[in-house]
């Protein structure tokens, strides 16, 4: 990308007014997306984002500037903008760069260009046909294809030199079903950090069929009950609840601010002994994986909660510096336009030993949640809310009628302590998760089937 001499010149410039550490993050990202609705490919889009961000640390402050091109003159100007705030602090030297190596390999079997744009468009048409063909009540289908390659280079004045090359692909599908004035929508997606071989592993047409089936089934959904009741969360995507309700509160920026419910509680019992929560950025093909994070720190698995005991937070470089802690490789950014933040990667609850059938069978009257929509949580209190996009009543231990228009409302730490059954059917999601925290990054999620003995369901009945 840039030769080490140029990088050294830029970092020297960034430290001209002082500073403890200077860093340059270079990114080259190219993408292709296709969007289908009304059974037509409505747009085909290619994007190129090339740029660099320069960060200077002095004390607990990070000054940042970025440029949308990689012309040396622009980079030097950004370096000067970043250093202007650091006036008067100590000046560090730029050490010689040593290239970091990673044992991780994310092999690509079918490169993006093994299918032409037209063939990719055809695949979306087939998804549309399968979903529409499932039932005449399917009234609209939107589907999109996205692939991108993100190459990243990170250098810092302590001699760090790390490179990564991330290739992501996904197909998103949204189905609208309509009958007698009732409209239902279901959306989902499949993808991976891989080449196009992911579509051999997870068939987009089967996914289209499953979604059409769910949307049509939800047409007969009755209004959800309101009040407190037991809820069984299905495996895989159900993990989104813990991502929002507990994961964010374990990110080091909230900890350092003292604004998280988990601040100062490492070593304490914060969850049921059945719960082990892990964040792991090394898993092959997962969306939250990488060789090095966006600070240049190697990826690693981090046990956050082990059998109910809080073990670790998720640290990035900036937050770790403030506490003289070690980064856990959770520094991530949407692009060179943003400063990194401590973020989740692939976050999941480990498998338990209950039979999932038994978990459902144990509930007299409650809900079975198959699919959650978005979620949001307040890190200060730990309160969360989730919309249920596909849910069913459980009556006398059996899954019965579909329900619509319901929310789950609760408190993350409270739910973690109350979970009383954890299934043996652990599964990761289908590879389309992304997480927003002012910046969007791809993430992975997972969990086994779980029982929450009581939680508030916000319905209308």
């Amino acid at each position: 990308m840039l030769d080490p001499d140029t990088v050294r010149r830029i970092l020297d410039e960034a430290l001209r007014n002082g500073g403890d550490l200077a860093e340059i993050y270079l990114e080259d990202r190219t993408s292709l997306s296709l969007a289908l609705e009304e059974s037509k490919i409505e747009r085909a889009l290619r994007g190129a984002d090339r740029g660099a961000g320069i960060r200077v640390f002095y004390g607990d402050t990070a000054a940042y500037a970025y440029t949308d091109d990689l012309i040396t003159q622009s980079l030097l100007r950004a370096a000067r903008a970043a250093t202007s705030a650091a006036k008067g602090s100590n000046r560090s030297r730029v050490l010689d760069f040593t290239r970091s190596s990673s044992p991780l390999e994310f092999p690509i079997e079918k490169p993006f260009d093994s299918l032409s744009e037209r063939e990719k468009a055809k695949l979306l048409h087939r998804v549309d046909q399968v979903a529409r063909g499932y039932d005449p009540r399917v009234s609209q289908v939107r589907t999109g294809y996205l692939e991108y390659r993100q190459q990243v280079w990170v250098y810092n004045s302590q001699g760090l030199w790390a490179e990564d090359d991330r290739k992501m692909v996904e197909i998103r599908i949204a189905v609208v079903a309509q009958d007698k004035g009732v409209i239902q929508t279901i959306h989902s997606g499949i993808g991976a950090q891989s080449g196009l071989e992911v579509f051999d592993r997870i068939d987009p047409l089967a996914e289209a069929q499953e979604l059409a089936q769910a949307a049509v089934r939800m047409l007969d959904a009755r209004p959800a009950p309101a009040g407190e009741m037991p809820v069984v969360m299905s495996n895989a995507w159900g993990g989104v609840l813990f991502h929002e309700a507990c994961g964010h509160a374990l990110e080091a920026d909230f900890i350092n601010q003292g604004s998280s419910v988990f601040a100062g509680r490492v070593g304490e019992k914060v969850a049921s002994s059945l719960i082990t929560l892990i964040d792991d950025s090394t898993l092959p093909a997962r969306r939250g994986s990488f060789r090095f994070d966006d600070d240049g720190t190697p990826s690693q698995p981090t046990v956050l909660i082990e059998q109910g005991v809080l073990k670790s937070y998720m640290w990035d470089l900036a937050e770790a510096r403030k506490r003289k802690a070690r980064s856990t490789g959770n520094g991530r950014r949407e692009s060179f336009r943003y400063l990194p933040l401590p973020r989740m990667t692939n976050t999941f609850i480990a498998s338990g030993d209950s039979d999932p059938e038994e978990i459902i069978g144990s509930v007299k009257r409650g809900l079975y949640v198959k699919r959650l929509g978005g979620g949001q949580a307040d890190v200060a209190k730990g309160d969360f809310v989730f919309s249920i996009t596909e849910g069913y009543l459980i009556e006398d231990g059996k899954i019965t009628a579909p329900i619509r228009g319901a929310n789950l409302v609760g408190n993350g730490p409270a739910i973690l302590s109350e979970i009383d059954m954890v299934g043996s059917d652990f599964e990761m999601d289908k590879g389309f998760g992304r997480c927003g925290k002012g910046q969007m990054v791809p993430v992975g999620l997972g969990q086994p089937t779980l029982r929450i003995p009581k939680i508030i369901v916000g319905g209308t009945e």
Binding site: L34, E38, K40, I41, E42, R43, A44, L45, R46, G47, A48, D49, R50, D60, T61, A62, A63, Y64, A65, Y66, D68, D69, I71, A81, S84, A85, A121, Q140, I183, Q184, T185, A226, G227, E244, F254, Q257, G258, S259, V261, R337, L339, G373, G374, Q376, D378, V379, A380, K381, D383, F384, V385, S387, G405, N407, V409, G438, I456, V457, G458, T460
Partner: protein, 458 residues
């Protein structure tokens, strides 16, 4: 005005956009080029210290090609001759992969008028960074010093942007404008015994000098303090009073169902209701792309059509929809200037501009006076429980309980559910305190009273 100083050389971006359009249209296609160039500053403070400071001069190009009704698009942040060429070649090639649609075309140029919109503050780019840092610190201090129970702030941020926008198309359009926006926001954390609550404060203006740091910081603190010690309610049906913070969220999702696109594609809970009474007399909905100092105001929209004022709903009757050029062509009508564009990285998409529920002359106190027993919602957590297609409405809410028109106790951790259709019919009063908030586009709401909502609690 169209000159930008890059490395001491003035770049004529409007000229560059026209040049690209001319090059591409020689291939026998319709072409459009959008160039955006700007400056941004972001400051984040914590405990009186600068935590983050970010500065940049972003820029980029988006090229749209329509070839026999097929749309290809490409963008790049690289405006070198090679980057530009790669980009329009990509757009041209990609058009081949799209399907034809007879209604896809580019709009004819029309005269636009930017005067009176008050969108640009020349002072914004000359205010020294030190002063912006001081403002962010003042906001945080205002929150922390209001009450000893305020223990921390979360992401106390000052942020501004100045953009120059240049748009040209093969029908002869070549136009530009500039806008600025400065915003400050934070969450203040209040703690008392076991209870911990975060409250939001936000201020936004096109003009730097109009931000009021004390008011923004204190708003966050007050919003946190008043909810300390809240408990859930019992499950019941009750009258709800919506603070503008929650009201703008509701209105944004309603606005999503009011576009030509949502109707044409069956993605609206108001499908087939044009011309019908769908809401109570109290409901007047307006979309105004020319609102002076509006966050979403502009002389022309994302594809060059002049912006306008559209009275969408009058006394509860759904009169008009919002259109961009494509959806208007399809319905045989005129674009209302509602093609929006997040940035040069996006194709135009029909979206509301400054969308709001018209206020009445009723004060908030008068609106509350009529509430025998009800829930005053101060903030909501929405996670996809508001669906403009199915019309479902379900959120988690925090707020205050009202008895005989007076606030009695804080409430937290309950859900509120209804449908968007029912809510529109059950709005019995709106107050005079219209406020625009930037979280969902630029949506404005006064305090709203809604009857008969389902509250889910213990």
């Amino acid at each position: 005005m169209s000159g930008e100083q890059i490395g001491g050389v003035a770049i004529d971006y409007l000229g560059l956009a026209q040049e690209i359009v001319e090059q591409v249209s020689r291939k026998g296609v319709e072409a459009e080029a959008l160039i955006m160039a700007g400056q941004t500053t972001m400051v984040r403070v914590n405990k009186g210290q600068v935590e983050q400071l970010s500065q940049a001069s972003p820029k980029g190009l988006g090229v749209r090609v329509i070839k026999e009704g097929r749309t290809g698009y490409a963008y790049t942040s690289d405006l070198s001759p090679q980057g530009v060429k790669e980009s329009w070649r990509d757009a041209l090639a990609l058009a081949e992969s799209a399907d034809p649609d007879e209604y896809r075309s580019l709009p004819e140029p029309q005269p636009t008028e930017g005067g009176g919109l008050a969108l640009y503050d020349p002072a914004l780019v000359t205010v020294p960074t030190e002063e912006k840092i001081a403002l962010a610190k003042e906001v945080e201090e205002a929150a922390l010093s209001l009450d000893p129970r305020i223990v921390a702030t979360i992401r106390c941020t000052y942020q501004d942007e100045a953009w120059h926008i240049y748009l040209a198309n093969s029908r002869g359009l070549a136009d530009s404008y500039e806008r600025t926006v400065a915003a400050t926001y934070l969450r203040a954390v209040a703690r008392e015994e076991e209870s911990q609550v975060a409250g939001l404060g936000v201020g936004l203006s096109n003009f730097y000098g109009e931000l009021d740091p004390i008011a923004i910081g204190q708003e966050a603190a007050k919003r946190a303090l008043e909810l300390l010690g809240g408990n859930p309610l019992g499950t019941q049906r009750a009258t709800v009073v919506l603070d503008p913070l929650a009201g703008t969220e509701l209105l944004f999702f309603i606005s999503e169902a009011l576009t030509g696109e949502a109707m044409q594609r069956g993605r609206s809970f108001l499908l087939g209701k044009l011309g019908q009474k769908v809401a109570s007399e109290a409901v007047n909905l307006v979309d105004d792309g020319r609102l002076p100092r509006g966050y979403a105001s502009a002389p022309f929209d994302g594809e060059g059509v002049p912006t306008s004022l559209t009275r969408v709903m009058e006394s509860g009757v759904l009169d008009h929809l919002l259109y961009d050029h494509y959806t208007a062509q399809k319905d045989g009508t005129r674009s209302t200037g509602n093609a929006s564009r997040g940035s040069y990285r996006h194709l135009p998409k029909v979206s509301p501009t400054n969308f709001y529920l018209e206020p009445s002359s009723l004060s908030r106190e008068e609106l509350m006076r009529g509430v025998e027993a009800g829930f005053y919602i101060k903030s909501t957590l929405n996670t996809g429980g508001i669906n403009p297609i199915s019309g479902d409405y379900s959120v988690a809410a925090n707020g205050l309980w009202i008895e005989k028109g007076e606030v009695t106790k804080p409430v937290s951790g309950v859900t509120v559910a209804s449908t968007l259709g029912e809510i529109l019919k059950n709005i019995t009063a709106v107050a005079d305190d219209l406020r625009f908030l930037p979280f969902y586009g630029s949506t404005g709401a006064p305090t709203i009273r809604i009857e008969g909502m389902q509250i889910g609690g213990k």
